[in-house]
Subunit: 368 residues, 4 copies
């Protein structure tokens, strides 16, 4: 083998020696070895390595979203990278069982040495949240309250730089905003869908009104409930209400992006909407695993440190619990489910929509 190759071995390539020198338990220095501190260090280092990988994928995705047009090929790349992120997220979840083999009493052996280091000071995790699109209002609160002292200035700079750039949420929202399918060769999706919804709900009402096995009193009750449902459903077609929801922080997508998402969910069987549908589904999954991680992490924290304050003066369990509900990024996509009609009641797409956008392997063979 050539000299060049000799240098190129597994240990050097992966920097194994350096890597295995980065575990320096404080309890060892203090003279009272706490056996479980090694596990604590290694587990957290593994988390940081995975965070780096997630950020690496996320950055590459954000670069693509900066383009004005996203070619289908790129959409495929985006999806496969989000799927990779999701696979990593599953490991982040599973790994908690490893850390849980350390009992609270074990942790107590070295916990005081860590103060004020805190599990919440992971800059990479906060970067990850920012780049995914966690709302800055939540982040600011969170900074003022409890993080003011935990980050140094270079770390703060990294985070505020990231905050100024478009997040994954922004990228997706803009891309949905540009979707060409909402007004396509005479087919106006929003109008057609509103009509279909009205008709479908009216039919539902007629069915129980005409049902002779239902008493008059029951009918009144059912009609009352139905009217509430109707009002709730139809609200989605009201641009003003949408804007109020956005203003109050209850919705994040633009009005047009929201329409495009609904179209994608409803007509996802169309080949041309296959990748877009996968994207939205993958985003929901990614957030699901993020939420699950927070949930399991908060459970573990409760178990490990009780309801006392966390290490580093961090807010511990009660903080973790609130993040669970409030820090949603892509929840608009989940909420849309409430506004679905079944396939049989959907407005038919124009022939051209299907013909132009759905390509057939068969057609190619015919051409030969």
């Amino acid at each position: 083998m050539s000299k060049k190759n000799k240098e190129n071995n597994y240990q050097d390539y992966l920097r194994i020696n350096d890597l295995l020198n980065l575990q320096n338990p404080l309890s060892e220095k203090s003279g009272m070895i706490a056996h479980e501190e090694m596990l604590f260090i290694i587990t957290h280092q593994v988390y940081e390595l995975w965070f780096k990988q997630i950020l690496y994928e996320l950055d590459s995705i954000l670069t693509i979203f900066q383009n004005d047009y996203i070619v289908e090929k790129e959409m495929g790349v985006i999806n496969s990278r989000i799927l990779r992120i999701i696979e990593i997220q599953k490991i982040l979840l599973d790994q908690i069982t490893v850390l849980e083999t350390m009992t609270p009493l074990d942790f107590l052996e070295f916990r005081d040495l860590l103060v004020p280091a805190s599990g919440f000071q992971s800059v990479q995790f906060r970067l990850l949240e920012i780049k995914m699109g966690l709302k800055s209002s939540d982040r600011i609160f969170f900074e003022k309250q409890s993080y003011k002292n935990s980050l140094d200035s270079s770390q703060k700079k990294i985070l505020s730089k990231a905050e100024k750039k478009p997040s994954l949420f922004d990228g997706v929202n803009n891309w949905l905003n540009r979707m060409p399918f909402l007004d396509f060769e005479g087919f106006k999706f929003w109008d057609s869908y509103q009509k279909a919804v009205s008709q479908s709900l009216q039919n539902q009402k007629n069915i129980f009104l005409k049902d002779s096995t239902i008493s008059l009193q029951e009918k009144k009750q059912l009609e009352k409930e139905h009217n509430i449902s109707y009002k709730n459903f139809i609200a989605i077609f009201d641009n003003k209400k949408h804007n109020v929801l956005v203003k109050n922080g209850k919705r994040r997508l633009s009005y047009k992006a929201m329409q495009a998402s609904l179209l994608i969910f409803l007509y996802r069987d169309e080949p041309v909407l296959h990748l877009p549908f996968n994207l939205l589904t993958n985003l929901i999954d990614m957030e699901k695993y993020l939420t699950s991680w927070r949930h399991l992490h908060s459970q573990m924290a409760l178990r490990m440190i009780g309801k006392k304050i966390g290490t580093g003066g961090s807010p511990g369990y009660s903080y973790l619990k609130t993040t669970l509900e409030n820090q949603k990024i892509f929840s608009d996509f989940m909420d849309l489910t409430s506004y679905f009609l079944p396939r049989s009641k959907l407005p038919k797409l124009p022939r051209n929509f299907q013909k132009n956008l759905g390509f057939y392997y068969a057609r190619l063979e015919d051409n030969k």
Copy 2:
């Protein structure tokens, strides 16, 4: 082979033919086959089979807990059966990914046919909650609100019969109540521990008070925080406060059972406390997986049906979300973590405690 054996084949033993005849999609009858209904049925049947297995293990455990004394051998059996329940719970969680391959739009194809059947009507799941020890006050609320119509009288009878019997929580609480270690040959755990706690907290205070690198102002702040911590910690030794917490539903264990739990957690390295420690840990795990299941289930429900009301007039997502926090059974064990001292600060057990209770393989060999 004998005639007897010929009948005894795999298909008959497992009643395969009958089993595979129990899937009757409503959409098939209605003429519009909804492909995903089969998945819906089979997944739920699998859930019910696992629920039966969990109940089978739970019943056998409850039977053992009815004894006045629990021999160590039985404690081993209890632990191994709870571990089995936990393995099943993990599968219940993992299985959700299978059901999630059905998209909300797929579900919409047959969802209306199911009304008012609801995923919340699983009698076995409610039995399971009752037998584990879910507080009846929670259950009653839950019944009045939404279940009044969903169960028939025979089902109600089964549930109310179960409610009258001691639950797993009751069994564990009673067993802890009877624990002989709290007052053992002159060693009074509760008194000794209170002394150790006072001393340890006082030491902590002295350290920062004497630290010349800390400013006077900082010292004042730290002392203030320390006093709060002290007050919170010491509260555990107050029987009256305990009773108030129990009355308000914030604690469930008896005062003595709580002390026994703390002793088990703190001295779990003692061989005689090995199995009891495993039991408490397994109970925490079992509840953790129950909570995770509710969490993932509520996430899935939100995704599948949106924020609309669930099938069967069931309360859907918002109900599921509240159960997450309020329906805790063994949370007392987790809360105890807040009252741990590190091993080095624990009161020493009397020699006899260790000598009598820790047996050595070595000793046996010496006897030969």
Copy 3:
């Protein structure tokens, strides 16, 4: 609520009462209850329910493959159903941990009662293998040896009927055979690829031949190794060798289907090849999980029953071990990896290929 709806409750819809009556432990009848028999029965029933679901999906896929043309929409459906099968397969694997909570000594308590019932008599599992495309030669051997007595005539009829129908392998092979991309507007994939391979391997050779840091002796050794690699690689372009491999049972795909697969793997970034690439990858995954299941199942059998013969006179561990290696269905796809060139060395596709087949969201917007 209407009368109709009242009947339609969860318990009846899912046939819960019937379902929960199908567990009849033999040890109970014999008077000596073996606690773990319930687990054994329920676990196997759960397996059979999942097998039914897999077969349900498989049948729907096979129906689509009977079409002469497969529209892209259908390709999406096929992929999503295979993904569902894979999610179920993961559960089949995970579930083994539940069964393993039963120790060999527990099993011994009721094992003799089961003789000659055997875990290998699952007709559904054999159907599944047949429908996926397990080679009939393997199956015949397997039947003659050990299954002659274990199935009744109606079961045999079901299996032999399935054997006569095209399997998933057949469907995929035919579909690949019809692929239009191999000879497309003047682009002949097979010729171009052969040229690219020759050139690339020649270049590789030149690099080390010209490397002055490598001694003459080393160069001779490297050249020898390179020639073997070259010969092995280039063999794929030999139709006769292909046929010999097929005849010897070492390859299954037709020559043209094999070419089409290679094209799909190499140009999978092309949007038009996105779904086909997913299909091949999913098939590999599906087989991977099948193989893993066999592996874990054989490990568990070894642990449970030792190297003795299995229940029902079944061949037990040693049989299970051989199936691991020999019963491959889609291994051709994995073997193709050996014949990949890196992207940078692939022949360029003609402009029309990309233009016609890759559609752009951007283009649509331009048209407006």
Copy 4:
């Protein structure tokens, strides 16, 4: 906060900056960034971190096994650390799905840059195998064949030093060898068990011989089979045969250690055997996950590189496949299952055995 504490933050404690500087893709240096190389590097680094943790636990266990007597407390520690290793092993398995999001074509983009670095050069993994107790004969073969060039002299020194120390297998074998239960106050386990086995097998034979529903011809066949079973079973009581098996490498435990293991498996319900039984079971599990890892790893290698030779001139798939079967460490424990009698047929333990070794919580309470 004090100055001392300010230095003590999360980033510094975990050496995050250093850690995140150890990923240096070769493709980046070469100017042609291969996106997936980062994943390749990070995944392998994560593997190495987990290997370090496993070795850390393993070393602490080996230290305990060096003691002449192992106190029950220590046995508890050993078990909990092996359980931790197992939890890590599960993650090692799960992580493969992350690496598999890199397709073979992706890997090809940078694979040539790695040559001759090889995934088999992980010194830590080989240490792990040595410390677990992989037979040195296997290791030597493996070294001569393929690893002669891949390790530098300091690495070789580390490995050969480890080889000279007692492994986990040695520790367990010695500990079993010292077990005091085999000849306990007049109860000679080995003699009693041999008698019980003879009687039980004779009874089995009588049952079918007296069964009037079985034909004479069938009886002859059954008797023939029974005699073979009998001979195989009874062989375990033959010290000479044992020694031959050991010599041929088919068994590894000493004759006495093997007897002790059997006693532990059969009487594992005895409290005193609870921890020993857990140990043996955990060792089996640990090896199961090691074997599964090798299996999945070999599958992945096949998929990634085909049947060609691996990177670094490593033997690739075919090597990996053989390791699967041959490199067993604790398989003796699994093989013992073949020599179990059901609980009802086991020789009764002497009263003193139970009385002395099984302690009761009840007893303590009585004493008060």
